[in-house]
Symmetry: C2
Subunit: 538 residues, 2 copies
């Protein structure tokens, strides 16, 4: 597994996966004698995605893996040399060859944290040249991971805790790694699993899958299974010929449903039988290759009942077209009547999973009170985040050589918050977050029970707040290249995200027109911003 | 480079990068004795993206690379075994261990082709089990590549042939590989280059980049360059102290512009000087870290003129906020007056590049008649394809054991076109495409100059068409695992895409409310669809 992870790290985050300007700037810093100046960068986002009032932070494990593996190979340096002026001092390339992150320190929110605009997700400190080079890969690793985790969390909020949510979007992702990232972080954000096998192998995401239409349409019905016999599930009884058994059950089912026994498609039934022979303990059907009502459902029931007679219980069925809610209701009714008719009570409770362009709105409809849908597969809408396909993170220099730095610009939204900061979450007595406080790293921490005056971002006036609890937000993960604490397993980060969301006040958590969560500056930070802003000098 | 490409292939497209249901179906096929049945799948899309009437096809080189490297390692098979029933016949896993694509044949459109709904982009033939397993990775490799190439082609159509378009979206991509795919295929679709260094190294995409705000804000102005001397560009004259020279020029520039010489930010100027010392032949400035008019522009001009005196010509400047069009006009005016004032005529023509959330609408504004913008950097809007972040390709079984297959379903849009097909593009005498024709593989090809009757998709009646020229669309790329023809270099596919788009009638090419391009079925294919559809039996 270690070699596996190395290959993955190499693939995911090679140092040349960066913008060329990071390299031209590196030469500029080097030429100016500033390559080793100590610099502090902060990575944050400017607005919560999807019109919501929260985001989740994700991607930390990928960033840590990237930092620890960071090294330019000879071929990398040669390629860079081919893109820089031919008279560039060879000592610069020697410097590049020796680069690593052994002097880089990384502070970050825990993976799966609630995150808000302007609060650093990552703080990266180290030699100016190298921490500048890290910009693009870190943005790339954090931006989409956090976006898709947040998107998944929204879908989980809509679905409620009980419904099973599966991510099926690999084929709609931005290439292979987009798919792997999507599967990993939609799980972190609250999905139950993914269809993506590689995400299972490399990241431990629970994987799920049954069969597609092509499996069903590949059968005409004339196929003869080489081994049609199936032994009962538990008893010692003799094996039976499953296809023959299914044929008998089909007649009963068609009679019960008032269908002609010729109506259900024989190829679809042969496909279900083939699948049942391979997965007798976990039989599932996909019902809409021909006609759900006249073919898919009776064929499914015939196989499920034949299996049931042998002591196996079918586990579920899937629908992939049409009105998914309405069909689920009808099918549940038929499952009930069939279960009663043939005295197989477990049949009425088998899982109904649906898929087909499910977005937030359709999901809300599918999980409404009384819905018979148990599981929902979501592809495009979770993976591509169509409501807002980019989080728009930024990575800004806040301090160099201990001196605060600020990008002023004439666009106020693009101004940065100067200085190396500490970040705190102030909570009420119930553990609900009140606001996030940014202050300069050297200021004393806010104390529980103690009133303090803060400047909400964008407000003209300060306010006071008295937190019952105070959380330090940014933990030390990598100190001068060394991992300081183990990264929690993905499932643990997933649980942390759900707990954190559970503590967020409903007004901030709601998806439509939420109340914005406050991020505030300490008086000292506010004063620093003022002193560096041109508007402070009349 | 070969090892590099292997690592890339491994990373990009491992066989386990697939949906679990491909594996459960594999077991189903194997259990049914059908693993080696000959099957034909076709990969196509249902609707052109972005409300347009064309798409580009891209991703072929990745598909070919994936097919040729396809092999399950022992650790892969072990992982799959852990996800399948414990009593699965070990012979199935032996079968998986021996799988490769040595019996798989791939036909496809050439990379960069115009592509239309329902026309196969890929045809994949081979043993049922293995060609089924290929579904998800092929969809993943083709879908986003084609989408981003099409998106880039639209942006190129808006920009016209002269403006320089740069893709800067790595940080907004779905993780590392999403960024690599985006850079590669936005170049194919018509961009001039990318900021993404890895796309340059691995794919030969032209790369570009200069400096970011952090470089500028990292300088306070108190820094002293270790080597401030710069020799003249060509003459034998003595080296001069560049910062001192710039200081002299700043006074002249401020006098010319009516600014106080204290107004331009000294840190910004120090950053420009540092960059100029590293890149005297290719000096560029980013003007909006503080104030374009009062700081960025005068600092830039001072450095550019100091360089100019030494015989170097600054190559360009960049703006990243505010009204980009209006600023470009103003700056061009100042460049002209400054060029005239100081008799450096080249200065008035330096390139103005802009960036900042440029989308189709903003791009149209930036390239309007009389605009002084020369280059446009686009990130989020090209990489995330926000207008439609997924192409929605499908991979459908059309034939098994020589028998046509069709997914009927009750949703007409999800019905498939049965049978293994040939596809032709019928052209008029000027080489403009008239329509694409799908027919069964065994039918004789349509002949130039000969009238034929075809059934446009969705129409109730046939029409006749007399093509002046006929193009066979699907070429043989991989025959039983062997590459049949070399894949053209990326730049060649890019030129092919631009030529193809140039031949498309303007009515189809226009981006808003275009006329749909016809895809038609031969009479024989139309009859086959009819014979397999339930509606044909009254």
């Amino acid at each position: 597994m270690a070699a596996e992870e190395d290959a993955e790290a190499l693939a995911a985050a090679r140092p040349l996966l960066t913008d060329l300007y990071q390299v031209t700037m590196a030469l500029g810093y080097w030429r100016a004698g500033r390559a080793r100046d100590h610099a502090d960068f902060e990575l944050s986002f400017r607005r919560c995605p999807f019109g919501g009032a929260f985001s989740l932070f994700a991607g930390l494990r990928d960033c840590v893996r990237f930092l620890r593996a960071f090294h330019l190979r000879d071929t990398d340096v040669q390629f860079l040399a081919s893109k820089l002026p031919p008279d560039t001092d060879p000592a610069f390339f020697e410097h590049l060859r020796g680069l690593d992150c052994s002097r880089v320190t990384l502070r970050a929110l825990p993976e799966g944290s609630l995150a808000f605009p302007g609060v650093p997700l990552l703080q990266v400190s180290g030699p100016l040249l190298v921490v500048q080079l890290l910009e693009t890969p870190l943005l790339c690793l954090v931006g989409y991971a956090s976006l898709v985790a947040t998107n998944a969390a929204r879908l989980r909020l809509i679905a409620g805790p009980e419904k099973r949510l599966l991510e099926l979007g690999l084929r709609r992702a931005q290439g292979p790694d987009g798919g792997l990232t999507a599967s990993t972080y939609s799980y972190l954000g609250g999905f139950d699993g993914s269809s993506n096998v590689l995400a299972g192998q490399l990241r431990g995401v629970p994987v799920a899958g049954t069969l597609a239409h092509s499996f069903i349409t590949s059968f005409s019905g004339s196929e003869v299974p080489p081994e049609p016999m199936l032994a009962p599930a538990v008893s010692e009884g003799p094996a039976v010929n499953l296809p023959a058994h299914v044929k008998v059950w089909l007649e009963r089912v068609c009679a019960h449903l008032g269908l002609g026994k010729q109506e259900p498609h024989p190829g679809e039934r042969a496909a279900f039988v083939a699948y049942a022979l391979a997965f007798p303990q976990a039989f599932q059907g996909l019902l809409d290759s021909y006609s759900v009502r006249r073919s898919g459902l009776p064929n499914f029931l015939a196989v499920a009942l034949a299996l049931g007679e042998l002591g196996y219980r079918a586990v579920g069925l899937r629908l992939d077209s049409g009105d998914l809610l309405q069909q689920a209701q009808e099918i549940r009714g038929i499952l009930r009547s069939t279960a009663a008719r043939f005295q197989m009570p477990w049949l009425e409770r088998i899982s109904i999973t649906v898929s087909n362009n499910v977005d937030e709105e359709e999901l809300a409809r599918l999980v409404q009170e009384g819905s018979e849908v148990d599981g929902i597969g979501i592809g495009t809408s979770v993976v591509t985040c169509p409501q807002q396909p980019s989080l728009g993170c930024v990575y800004k220099l806040v301090c160099v050589g201990g001196q605060p730095r600020m990008k002023l610009t004439e666009d106020p939204e693009k101004q940065t918050l100067p200085g190396k900061k500490a970040a705190f979450r102030l909570l009420d007595a119930d553990g609900s977050p009140l606001l996030d406080l940014l202050q300069l790293a050297e200021e004393p921490s806010p104390q529980p029970g103690q009133e303090l005056r803060v400047w909400p971002r964008g407000a003209q006036e300060p306010r006071t707040v008295r937190p019952a609890q105070v959380e330090l937000l940014l933990g030390l993960w990598v100190h001068r290249g060394q991992l300081c604490q183990p990264l929690p397993p993905l499932a643990e980060s997933r649980a942390f995200a759900q707990r954190s969301l559970g503590h967020l006040r409903a007004a901030h958590r709601r998806l439509q027109s939420p109340e914005q969560y406050q991020v505030a500056l300490s008086e000292q930070l506010q004063a620093l911003v003022g002193s560096l802003s041109p508007r402070s000098s009349p």
